[in-house]
């Protein structure tokens, strides 16, 4: 087998859950595109905040409350710095789906009207698709799709063609596709859209956890990502917005914490970013996310990308050893994030995932919240293996072994097939 650049990280021991054994074997976790595992220091930070520093934020004058405040706002500053953003325009949300809904409701309903259009791609996750469908239906606008080609890539000419039609108000695309793995040229696309006066929204859920991302350099009006895929806990996501756009918007959710003053018949809004954070936020989770991005920064996002690129290259090299396996998405590791979606002739993806589980190998099967893309690819579902900082080549070998065994379960019986005896 030709040599593939050895991946450089060796951090498995930092992740307590990976000491778990499945079916008597060490767990092989290859579902980080769904959610990442968490290093001990993140788990400890979550517990430590609740154990020693818990109070509500933005309210108390006592020392404990000030501590909680400092921890929460300190986490915001670290999270913003991680992606090159300004803390004042870095809004904590529940997840990317909520971030996109925030934009679709608070900006979309005020700015998209009948006869106008929202432009997305065929490869979007439902989270960056359904909110736009709903907006367009409500406002009498049309939802148009940029096609993905056979390699799973977008065409910049098609982007320009669509923008030239003059009716597009919003362009919303994933930075990295959660099914194809394609890394989209978001900076180039954003540049064209902004030149056309179109609002740009990037779903960075699959990008921020695995590669250096600088939201200033990308230049989108909105860039969303989620903590739980980036070694942080569930329940906390991030929306970076352009200041002028955020200032011009009405709030999304209203109520506590997001007001400056309230009288019986009206209210004025708090400053950024709190104008968009109604109610008590996810304090402990945000604090733990701050620790997660510190961990990633210590590893270095260039190294994280190199590690995951090398593992992806190894996957792309090894997976074709499984007879009947078909990969979707770009064929080169340089063009994709750390995942591989595939089908195997004669075995449904559900059955592939079930049989992988027998070997302790955790992979995802299904439509990956991207049903329109599945139809475009002409498959009902795919199996998907995705890597994280804690994976190594042995995990990929285990996957290939499990896939070969899965085929055996189905094939061995095929060889036994004979007409049923009467």
């Amino acid at each position: 087998m030709p040599p593939v650049a050895e991946s450089s990280l060796s951090v498995r021991a930092d992740f307590p859950i990976l000491a778990r054994r499945e079916s008597g074997k060490p767990i092989v976790y290859l579902d980080s595109a769904s959610t990442s595992q968490k290093p001990a220091e993140v788990i400890e930070a979550l517990a430590e905040h609740l154990r020693a520093h818990n109070a509500n934020v933005h309210r108390g004058v006592y020392a404990l409350a000030q501590e909680a405040d400092a921890a929460f706002e300190g986490a915001r500053a670290r999270v913003a710095a991680f992606t090159g953003a300004d803390p004042e325009t870095t809004i904590f949300v529940k997840n990317v789906t909520e971030a996109i809904n925030l934009v679709a409701y608070a900006w979309g309903r005020a700015n998209v009207g009948p006869g106008e259009a929202v432009l997305i791609t065929q490869a979007e996750h439902h989270g960056n698709l359904v909110p736009w469908q709903v907006l367009c239906r409500e406002r009498g606008a049309s939802l148009r799709y940029l096609e993905v080609d056979e390699r799973g890539e977008l065409s910049l000419e098609a982007v320009e063609r669509e923008l030239a039609r003059g009716d597009v108000r919003v362009l919303a695309i994933a930075h990295v596709s959660n099914v194809l793995g394609t890394i989209n040229p978001v900076a180039e696309i954003v540049q064209r859209a902004r030149a056309a006066g179109v609002l740009t929204v990037i779903d960075g859920a699959q990008a921020v956890p695995q590669m250096p991302v600088d939201v200033e350099q990308i230049g989108a009006d909105f860039y969303a990502w989620t903590g739980h895929k980036a070694l942080g806990p569930t329940g906390v996501g991030v929306l970076h917005g352009r200041r002028e756009v955020l200032e011009g918007m009405e709030p999304f959710l209203t109520g506590g914490d997001m007001i400056a003053s309230v009288d019986f018949y009206g209210a004025t809004w708090n400053e950024l970013p709190w104008k968009f954070e109604a109610g008590t936020p996810m304090i402990a989770e945000a604090v733990a996310l701050g620790v997660a991005v510190d961990y990633l920064q210590r590893l270095g996002m260039e190294r994280v990308r190199a590690h995951e690129r090398a593992l992806t290259a190894y996957m792309l090299e090894r997976l074709p050893a499984v007879p009947g396996l078909r990969l979707v998405g770009p064929p080169e590791a340089d063009a994709r994030g750390g995942l591989a979606s595939f089908t195997i002739d004669g075995i449904h993806p559900h059955d592939i995932a079930e049989l992988c589980d027998r070997e302790g190998v955790c992979i995802r099967a299904g439509h990956h919240c991207a049903q329109p893309l599945m139809r475009r690819l002409g498959v009902g579902a795919t199996a998907r293996a995705s890597v994280g900082v804690y994976n190594d080549r042995a995990d990929i070998d285990a996957l290939v072994g499990a896939l070969l065994s899965a085929r055996e379960v189905f094939d061995l019986h095929a060889r036994d097939e004979r007409p049923a005896a009467c």
Partner: protein, 126 residues
Amino acid sequence: MDDLYRDYILDHYKRPRNFGVLEPHDLEALEHNPLCGDELGVHILVRDGRIEDLRFHGQGCAISQAAASIASEELKGMSVGDVAELDADWMIELLGIPVSATRRKCALLNLKVVRGAVTGDHSWPT
């Protein structure tokens, strides 16, 4: 031998009985498994209050396809009233394999489709 992927399950998966279309038919329905987006439809011909013939169509995993195939053989000849009374236990028992919570909907999709066609009730069998 594998507990789940037994010979007869794989046999029904690879050579499903009563799959295809049935024209003409009296009843039909189409349902999805939300977990994977798989689709299963049915055409049913009714005579004298009984299922005279039926055909499933669609694609799915070994569990959902085998369950539909196995059920189809039992459903033929059954009275429409009896079909309306079938529950999840009937299907799981008929399938004869340990079905985990995550695969339960795979196993029950065919019954959901058939009951939906017969009664108009599109809820999951319990």
